[in-house]
Amino acid sequence: MMSAFFEALQQKFGARTQSMSAEREDEVYLLVGDPDIRAVVEYLRSELDARLVTVFAEDRRFSERVFYNYYVFERKGETSYLIVRAPVQPECPEFPSLSAGLPAVNWQEREIQDWFGLKAVGHPNPRRVALHDNWPDVHPLRKDFPLETVLPPFEGERHIYRPALGEGVFQVPVGPVHAGTIEPGHFNFAAAGEPILYLQLRMFYTHKGTEKLFEKLPIHKAVFLAESISGDSSFSHGTAFCHAVERAAQIEVPLRALIMRTILLELERICNHVADMGAIATDVGFAVANAHASRLKEMLVGVNEQLTGNRLLRGMVCIGGVRRGWDAAQLGALRAAIDAFARGFQDLLALIDSSESTRDRLEQTGILRPEKAKDLGIVGVAGRASGMDLDVRRDHPYAAYSRYTFRVPVYQAGDVSHRMQVRADEVRESLGIIRCAAEESLHGDFRAQVPPIPADRCALSAVEGWRGEILHWIRTGPDNHLERCKIKDPSLNNWPALVEAVQGNIIADFPVINKSFNLSYSGTDR
């Protein structure tokens, strides 16, 4: 099927497409001749209705005298990813930008500009995004930039925000240090009276060189770095990373481990969803609901710890499987907690539903329209509340998801209330998955023998974290190290959705709208 597709592409674009190779059956690479892939992208999107999942770059100057840009596509109904690899010559470090027609890649193209020094020509807003304006002219992900480089002190203006002009229009700067216990980022509101006219975001305050650091750590240690990409998604990111390495090295993970991973991934989802539902209730003044939600969350965190030795599920996933098996007592504790949680969760939903004033604040607040969600490439919970029918668990099954049936909730309304509803639905589905998985016979190996990881293999892995689609793309290097590790947290896609959703809402509703997305700053900034 893929070769027919390649022929169609070659007929249409001739010499532009150079070769096609399937690293594995669900991961196909298409090499094109030059960085201008606009026509190919246009064809894939309009003719085949493919979705551009992510864009990233790689510095291969020292082995192939070239940079590569990667464009990852997926298509409804097909489990395989198509990855278009476009060379960018070091003598002419630029590539045509796609952002004008495809706002979804706006930040990702600018990341390539900042981190690799490749210019996105024709970008509608080519300013820095991943490095702040007062950083010196460095490109940290280039191979000739050492990780430990000591940069000179800051000089000049940190970031210039667009002025908000007009009678009665004023600006409200918030952050990077916020009033609550949340991560740092700067929000600059332009408001006329109460309603927000325009929100400008300044992220990457928590940028800590993660992708670069992946190139330095031995692979088994890098698992712990993957767990620290976004703490609340430790297990999802850890699994995505291990999965990528396992694919690259063709390691077959025992079924027992796959089922255990599935259970833990769903536990992570439930924990965070219920906490978010409580937090959303708090932000509209319904603190009692949050007390119950955080109590329920704490119950699950306790189970996390019983199953993995860590409240955030850390130190459990490893290359080849998981580090420990579970005995009957642990599985019994899991089943008991799931049952108790399910009862408590029903009560919580009833409690929230009984509060008319809460419902009133959530409905029609912070609307993200489906067509905007599509343009911006919104994924995960926020995407599904705005008509984006995407779920990696169903579309590109990994771990043991193909063994279980579950529903993917999709709504069109796109307001806070529906982002809440998606979470509530997903919690119920996750409970079902865990119940089925915990009934399976969990015997046998839980960890495969891991051979030395072969060098120069590429692999993509995708995991539906509780926020949405997490992607890890790696190229292995010699001595159990990595040449490159690209991480895409769903938050990176979804921040622009917040900008869209707050427009016209009052500033007082910003916290609840923000919470309904609950994006990871660390996952974005890396």
Binding site: V138, P140, F145, P146, L147, E148, T149, V150, L151, P176, V177, A179, T181, I182, E183, P184, Y205, T206, H207, K208, G209, T210, K212, L213, L217, H220, F224, L225, S228, I229, S230, G231, D232, A275, V288, A291, H292, S294, R295, K297, E298, G302, E305, L307, T308, G309, N310, R311, L312, R314, G315, R323, R324, Q330, A350, L351, S354, S520, Y521, S522
Partner: protein, 289 residues
């Protein structure tokens, strides 16, 4: 309204008794790795697998110096799995907060064998004193003081200086009904101007350095700073690089260090209470003026 009250009464009290009673932690919980330095015959396998370099081996001439830094430890337990001599045991201890960074580091000096294993322990030390006086006793001391310390209220301003949000996950948990920080009169407040304590997470990114410094400067005196988690103490797995400064004390003076990745809520509470003691120390000289 009636439903809400009904639910509240049906739920009952869920708050833990910690610190009045020891914390109940599940069996598999990975706390402080404990080292039997006498028995330890080779530190290299553990040092090789440690993701953050918390176990560090340095050979000089005929001797070997092994340092174990709880300020770098992410409590993954790999060291215990990698050591064939069973000299490392994962305990359930989590009350590891210290007012002195040096007390989190244990150093042991060994005579070296020809095959590069160690022969015998020559000496070991922790911070200024011996190991007993260092790491182990800290928890106890704080617990004895707790009742005396809790007569006052405390306002905390939290700053994320580049954490992965794992520490925030646990700091938020401190406010849930189970840990209920406010029962001690401790509040997390919105402004540094109202705060006695700065609770800082993350390795301090280059981009957060200025914000952290400004937040600290905005606080009235006396003030204490608590560095949370492996990253806050030492940079943790991120260490020091082009974007990360490698710990809170590179930017502001730190009074208490709380190890963990992340520290569990009780460990945070323990560290916060330890810092309350420091704050009291800072208050007294003022009054004597």
């Amino acid at each position: 309204m009636f439903k809400i009250l009904q639910k509240t009464f049906a739920t009952g009290i869920v708050t833990t008794k910690y610190p009045d009673e020891p914390a109940q932690v599940p069996e598999g919980f990975r706390g402080r790795p404990s080292f039997d330095f006498e028995r330890w015959k080779d530190a290299r396998p553990a040092a090789d697998v440690c993701p953050t370099g918390a176990i560090f081996v340095c050979d000089e001439g005929g001797s070997r110096r092994v340092t174990v830094d709880y300020g770098l430890c992410v409590f993954c337990g790999l060291c215990a799995e990698a050591s064939p001599d069973q000299a490392i045991r994962i305990t359930q201890e989590f009350e590891l907060a210290s007012t002195d960074r040096r007390n989190l580091v244990v150093t042991a000096k060994y005579r070296l064998n020809a095959d590069h294993t160690h022969q015998q322990l020559i000496e070991m030390w922790c911070g200024d004193g011996d190991v007993e006086a260092g790491v182990k006793s800290i928890g106890q001391k704080a617990r004895e003081q707790i009742h005396k310390l809790l007569r006052r209220s405390l306002a905390i301003r939290q700053v994320d200086a580049g954490s992965c949000n794992g520490c925030e996950f646990e700091i938020v948990a401190l406010n849930n009904p189970v840990y209920d920080l406010e029962r001690f009169g401790i509040h997390i407040v919105a402004s540094p101007r109202h705060a006695d304590m700065l609770l800082v997470t993350g390795p301090v990114t280059r981009n957060m350095e200025l914000a952290l410094l400004k937040t600290y400067q905005a606080m009235p005196e006396p003030r204490v700073v608590v560095a949370v988690g492996a990253c806050g103490i030492s940079g943790g797995i991120f260490g020091k690089n082009y974007a990360s400064l490698g710990g809170v004390d590179k930017v502001v003076p730190v009074d208490v260090y709380i190890p963990g990745c992340p520290p569990r809520p009780q460990a945070l509470l323990h560290g916060i209470l330890l810092a309350v003691g420091r704050l009291k120390g800072k208050l007294l000289p003022d009054r004597q003026k």
